[in-house]
């Protein structure tokens, strides 16, 4: 969909890409079994969580041009659904993730149905409102600790052997890879062309036969579900979940900054942005302090918006021309 396809060699087929992604996951998994230092898994989890969030955001924000400021809401709902179900029934993590994704997909459906008739900036404002409303609701949900938060017991061992953090890392690896594969598949399917048409000119897209409303709602459901899945393992990762950590400003800002820095037109942009920005932040946290993180992200984002509005991928493509 990047347009240079007719000139360059044919792009990799969807099936081939899924196979490569599976192979990549397998290799990381095998390599991970040699790692004994849990810090690697902690740091890796954060990077992968951002790959997942940035990719999920970009399916709607990058492909369709609908900017969602409500990432934190979906992410936090995923985390709290998982906390609640864990407390109530003690379900295994994969089931909690599916539940978080399902609930967030449903919320995406409701929000999409209600707000996607609004175009552009009004949609964005509505998503911001959603974040505020959910935070208020969850802060008053006593079963999961309300404003005080709740402790979640993290098992010491994961079901695959190794520490539970290692298990969380592999889980996030799988989710992130899956999300990237889904994003790339969407991008190259009819839906990808329909979303690009919506982003460029919605009335012209309708005139060309694109069912814009249906496509936007479906995309919001998919994007929301992936964000919910990203939040579901969080309680076990942090072991103490309260509204400020679930509705973290850093999550909301990073999820938008990462695709912008990497480039929003294709699947690879959010991946590059997420890896780069989370490494920069991790490095800053270790070497300077955790307080400069968001400042750094803000500065990088401003830099890209003014100097390279199409992100790193835009810069690379520009050079090739």
């Amino acid at each position: 969909m990047t347009g240079d396809a007719p000139l360059s060699r044919p792009p990799m087929g969807t099936l081939a890409f899924w196979c490569w992604a599976a192979a990549f996951t397998g290799v990381v998994y095998l390599a991970g079994r040699w790692v004994t230092n849990d810090y690697v898994f902690f740091a890796g989890y954060i990077v992968l969580q951002y790959v997942l969030l940035a990719t999920a955001w970009n399916i709607l924000g990058g492909y369709a041009g609908y900017v969602n400021f409500g990432t934190a809401a979906f992410f936090a709902i995923g985390a709290y659904i998982s906390t609640a179900l864990n407390k109530w029934l003690g379900l295994p993590l994969p089931v909690l993730i599916l539940a978080g994704a399902a609930v967030c997909g449903l919320i995406g459906l409701l929000m999409g149905g209600l707000t996607l008739k609004l175009q552009g900036v009004f949609f964005s404002i509505a998503t911001l409102a959603l974040a505020i409303v959910t935070q208020a609701l969850i802060t008053n949900w006593e079963y999961v600790g309300g404003a005080a938060g709740a402790y979640v017991i993290r098992p010491s061992r994961g079901p695959l052997g190794g520490s539970y953090v290692e298990y969380l890392f592999y889980t996030m690896l799988l989710l992130a890879t899956l999300a990237v594969c889904i994003a790339r598949t969407v991008e190259r399917s009819a839906a990808g062309y329909g979303l690009a048409a919506i982003r460029d000119d919605e009335a012209a897209a309708e005139a060309a036969g694109v069912p814009t409303m249906k496509l936007k709602v479906a995309t919001t459901v998919l994007s929301g579900a992936l964000m919910g899945a990203a939040g579901a393992p969080l309680p076990f990762f942090v072991t103490y979940l309260d509204p400020p950590s679930a509705f973290n400003l850093a999550v909301a800002v990073n999820t938008i900054a990462m695709p912008l820095v990497g480039g929003t037109a294709t699947w690879i942009g959010p991946v590059i942005g997420a890896v780069l920005l989370s490494i920069v932040q991790e490095a800053a946290m270790v070497t300077i302090s955790s307080a400069v993180n968001l400042l750094l992200v803000g500065l990088i984002m401003i830099g890209f918006i003014t100097l390279a509005p199409n992100g790193i991928m835009g810069l690379l493509r520009g050079r090739r021309r």
Binding site: D200, D201, A204, A207, A208
Partner: protein, 240 residues
């Protein structure tokens, strides 16, 4: 013969301004209709109303007997009503070929394969003389080329009724002839066409029937030679 497009009592207001008042228009299947009128007489508003880009305030529109009034634009396109926009509205981030791919993927009755899409897209681009621009972005095209792309994109929807809104503005004489020929050929394949145009040479060469709007009203409807001699039409044009 039953009309393909049947418009009855169509009315559209913008605030207090009446852009269209009580328009009746029937277009038969296979017909070539010219629609003329001075600037601001409501021609594009008419197109926007029947294609669903704007909601009309009164009246009813049917295509092939099916009521369109409550349908969103994309469903009207799928029923076979395609239009070009007067000011080209290309998909800026897609290439010229990909611009056609969107209606090819979405508007057709049958699902096309990748190869079929590419083939049909290239054939259409060839017909409007843009074959060598397939890989370029719309912004790299001239105004005139963008008009051709706009027309090709409407054709890619595979319409029963095609409405070309000033597709020829700014084109050279030779290019006008080319587009007229193209539309005639398309009509020969069975596509009903409404041509909105200020270039009278093209309208007269193309149309079997001519309709004239003045200030949101239909003032003439008949054989082209008669309509251009209609006093109300003459007055509207001379008064400009």
């Amino acid at each position: 013969m039953a009309a393909l497009l049947d418009v009855q009592g169509l009315g559209k207001r913008f605030g207090g301004f009446t852009a269209l008042a009580d328009i009746d228009l029937q277009v038969a299947a296979g017909e070539r209709l010219g629609l003329i009128g001075p600037n601001g007489s409501g021609k594009s508003t008419f197109v926007n109303c029947i294609s669903g880009t704007l909601r009309h305030d009164s009246g009813r529109v049917t295509l092939g007997g099916q009521l369109l009034d409550a349908l969103p634009p994309h469903q009207r396109t799928r029923l076979g009503l395609a239009r070009s926009f007067q000011l080209p509205r290309p998909f800026g981030s897609l290439t010229v070929a990909e611009n056609l791919r969107v209606p090819l993927l979405y508007a057709g009755a049958t699902k096309l394969s990748d190869a079929e899409c590419r083939e049909r897209g290239m054939a259409l681009l060839g017909q409007v003389g843009l074959a060598d621009k397939a890989a370029q972005r719309p912004r790299e095209l001239t105004q005139i080329e963008q008009r051709k792309l706009e027309l090709a994109r409407a054709m890619a929807a595979g319409p029963r009724l095609l409405i070309a809104d000033e597709s020829m503005a700014g084109l050279s004489n030779a290019e006008v002839d080319e587009i007229v020929d193209l539309l005639l050929r398309l009509n020969g394949q069975g596509v009903t066409i409404i041509m909105i145009e200020h270039i009278m040479r093209a309208v007269m060469a193309f149309s079997q029937r001519l309709v004239c709007f003045v200030a949101g009203r239909k003032v003439a409807d008949g054989l082209p030679e008669e309509v251009v001699r209609n006093p109300e039409v003459e007055r509207a044009y001379l008064g400009e």
